[in-house]
């Protein structure tokens, strides 16, 4: 395969992209390039895509996308009090191949409150369902969680802060709404069904270190 062949493959990719509106799968083009040329072609395609504006408007395609976990997560996020955490946290968990209960277990251990894992589970659940305000969550929680999920604490804070302050969703932190779900993943939903009960009243469950970590403020 010579250079002009690579040029030809790139031109074909561009033509298919322009004709179809959405970006085509580049692998079928890469497979036709020689091994030596494949990386260069991939880089050209990557550069092209990075400078491409949003895809042309297609109402039917847009409507079809609304059932995706991403779009449902955005809807839950905008309607909640936790910024983009309801959309982002499940995606990060999936990439890390961790179930919600595994994240909770590690988070409780890393925070030094392994004996109060149920309470950590309650608050983490609130983060994923848009019921916990970012302002209350301490830096320690975000640092540990960010490490578990593989990004920076700052990026996690940004996601929780995105969309700005909102009125607390009706019943936030209320046991009655504890079963609220993003309905984006079967795995997640099944875990919610077995989610631990929320902290009780002050008399039953006085304010403790875990409350301080999740409700006490950023520092």
């Amino acid at each position: 395969m010579n250079a002009s062949s690579t040029d030809q493959l790139f031109a074909e990719f561009i033509a298919a992209h322009e004709a179809g509106g959405s970006a085509p799968d580049p692998h079928s083009y890469l497979e036709r390039a020689s091994t030596d040329e494949r990386s260069a072609l991939a880089a050209r395609i990557d550069d092209h895509l990075a400078s491409t504006p949003r895809r042309p408007w297609d109402p039917a395609a847009f409507e079809a996308s609304l059932s995706s976990p991403l779009m449902k997560g955005i809807a839950t996020s905008v309607d909640g009090a936790s910024g983009l955490w309801p959309a982002l946290l499940p995606r990060l968990r999936n990439t890390a191949r961790l179930r919600r209960r595994e994240v909770v277990e590690r988070l409780a251990t890393d925070l030094g409150v392994a004996d109060r894992e149920e309470k950590v589970a309650h608050y983490y659940h609130q983060m994923e369902t848009g019921l916990l305000e970012e302002q209350g969550v301490s830096g320690a929680v975000l640092e540990k969680l960010a490490r578990i999920l593989g990004l920076s604490a700052e990026a996690l804070r940004d996601a929780g802060r995105a969309l700005g302050p909102a009125d607390a969703p009706p019943g936030a932190a209320s046991p009655a709404l504890f079963a609220r779900t993003t309905a984006t993943e079967a795995e997640y939903s099944s875990e919610v069904a077995s989610a631990p009960a929320s902290p009780g009243t002050e008399e039953e469950d006085p304010w403790d270190e875990v409350d301080e970590l999740f409700l006490g403020g950023r520092d």
């Binding site: 895509l49 395609a61 779009m71 809807a75 996601a159």
Partner: protein, 213 residues
């Protein structure tokens, strides 16, 4: 993000705005209590880039993880862009550039913290070896932003023989099973060979990422 008064818009009108104007619309709609309008505007912006981002991620990440990595990258980009005054006074196109920078960072994060896949951990030799663990590594924004992950992957692939490179492409990136990869490769390659080649490739990618940052 500059504050602006909220004005209800149709989907088509929202789509006609620049990225930065859509972000302003999201903030204004939410501040006005118009959750439906805010949601719709943000979904339109994300939808517009989702396909492009997924294809870019698909060039560098195994197929079965592309959706989650692409979604996370887009959400991180939006989150940062929604910071107050994030793009005030900037030119049109800044959000797009920012998004693709975050995409690259997310891919780097992915490779740095990549856990071993389930079927790889079935192998006794890999279970016993803990020096190749892909455990979580904290990555600062600045650190990740300096790495050209495509170049790193290309470099790692370039160090392989033609046969081994094809094996990595099939097993790591196209997500064939080890058995399918071995059968496709033929020529005496076994499942164990496929796992070992993939393990060495991932180790090399991680080494190169560490050297690059």
């Amino acid at each position: 993000m500059a504050k602006s008064r909220f004005r209800p818009l149709s989907d088509e009108q929202v789509n006609g705005l620049s990225d930065e104007q859509i972000l302003e619309q999201v903030v204004a709609a939410r501040a006005a209590g118009e959750v439906g309008q805010a949601t719709r505007a943000l979904q339109i912006l994300v939808w517009g880039y989702r396909g492009i981002v997924a294809v870019r991620v698909g060039l560098k990440v195994p197929k079965h993880d592309v959706d989650d990595v692409a979604d996370a990258a887009l959400l991180r980009a939006v989150a940062a862009a929604l910071k107050p005054d994030a793009f005030r006074g900037s030119s049109i196109g800044e959000f797009r550039k920012w998004t693709h920078t975050i995409v690259d960072r997310q891919v780097v994060d992915y490779w740095r913290r990549r856990e071993r896949s389930v079927d790889e951990t079935e192998l006794q030799d890999e279970r016993e070896g803990n020096g190749d663990s892909w455990g979580a590594v904290g990555v600062s924004e600045d650190e990740a932003g300096t790495v050209d992950v495509q170049a790193v992957i290309d470099h790692a692939l370039g160090g392989l023989s033609v046969e081994h490179r094809r094996s990595v492409e099939l097993y790591v990136f196209e997500c064939l099973s080890a058995r399918e990869t071995a059968e496709t490769m033929g020529d005496g390659m076994t499942e164990n060979n496929v796992h070992q080649i993939a393990k060495r490739f991932r180790t090399r990618v991680r080494e190169l990422l560490d050297e690059s940052s």
